[in-house]
Symmetry: C2
């Protein structure tokens, strides 16, 4: 395993054959899509989704040993983690500071009892800190979906998903409706639909859609062909076993 | 005009009649939706969209007077602004630091020539700094859409938009397709569609949809009635003049 500092750096390592697989977060059930992952897959790197992994996320209030809740005035964490704990942070009226990572946040609070960090258990061991409160995220069902990226596609298993990105002609109203109709008439279930600015101005979107089936299936091949005829951009991110 | 520190605080000020109108960002053409605005409108505050405002955004590299590009090692800004300037920041290999606001970032760099901030022109005057490079955002078409929130709705002008939030029954495939079909058969154009996690687990979404027309129009009233019958949650955020 090789750690990289940023999501694009992980993708680049696979493109350059430094790593055979790259693991990046793609969406969180509370905070939504991970913009940089979707944008990099859409605009920059030609990689396939080889696998998906779903991991439950627990956020903890991390403090210096012996520190009490009433000592804390400020809280440090990555923007995503702070966003996942909005209710908790607001309830305690902590002043918020953004850090580039939760690990960096933990490092920033060492030795100062007026400061706490938010992050996972691993960080605690890393820096000799302790957990004052666990599971402080707003909702219990906090999960992050990661994708494993590769240069090659996964073979058909019979229980697969396919991910695509497309954009529709702007001058034709009902474009998205027509694309969804292609899935509907073939009785193929969408498991995800996400819109994302195409970066060509407000109101112009890319759509990220996941659906059941493998691109080696005849029915999926026909669907992809029909979508291609009705969009001006289509990118197939790959087919992979459902988690 | 009264400034508030956070987006929910702006909304709260309108709810509590401290202000008659509140202005908050709702989407950016490069970075996408402003999660906290959508979530607060969906789950927390019962406010109407009274107006929309679209403002072009220019990001600048802000430095201490006399500082040169080769002096800079670190760059400070809000996560949204840093994300809008990803290519520029990566090209120069600056170490990134997140700040709670672009104004705070500017304050953090005062007196240190190895540090720069990213933000708009106003900040420069505020702290006696200067712009080293202007328009450093990744794309030229960087615009942010703001909404003006109120307790009451705007009257019909004849050139209006309506915003709604809905979620569909999970056990019925093709739910979104059926809702879009209601607009299609009435020949009403969608100007925006955005999916957002419903916070009830991965794969469960709220949809934020904007379309042409005012909720006082008979055709829009019929559409809303039909949508209500086919969704388990529908919230009308209001009708307002198109920008």
């Amino acid at each position: 395993m090789v750690p990289y500092c940023t999501i694009p750096a992980v993708m680049e390592s696979v493109v350059k054959d430094e790593c055979s697989l790259g693991v990046v977060p793609i969406e969180n059930s509370i905070e939504g899509p991970v913009g940089i992952t979707l944008d990099s897959l859409a605009h920059k790197y030609d990689l396939k989704i080889f696998k998906e992994i779903i991991i439950p996320i627990n956020q903890n209030l991390i403090v210096n040993p012996g520190c009490k809740l009433e000592d804390i005035k400020e809280v440090y964490s990555h923007a995503q983690a702070l966003a996942q704990c909005r209710d908790f942070v607001n309830k305690h009226n902590f002043q918020q500071h953004y850090a580039v990572s939760t690990a960096r946040a933990a490092k920033d609070i060492i030795g100062d009892n007026s400061k706490a960090a938010i992050g996972n258990r691993k960080i605690v061991e890393l820096y000799g800190l302790e957990i004052l409160k666990s599971n402080i995220q707003d909702m219990d069902n906090n999960e992050t979906r990661f994708v494993v990226l590769s240069k090659k596609c996964h073979k058909r298993t019979g229980r697969d998903k396919t991910s695509i990105i497309f954009s529709i002609y702007e001058d034709k109203p009902g474009g998205l409706y027509r694309i969804l109709g292609i899935f509907e008439k073939n009785n193929i279930n969408l498991t995800k639909i996400e819109s994302r600015p195409s970066k060509k101005g407000l109101g112009k979107y890319l759509f990220f859609v996941d659906f059941n089936g493998h691109m080696d299936d005849e029915i999926i091949q026909n669907i992809l062909k029909e979508i291609e005829e009705n969009t001006y951009y289509l990118k197939v991110l790959g087919s992979y076993p459902e988690f």
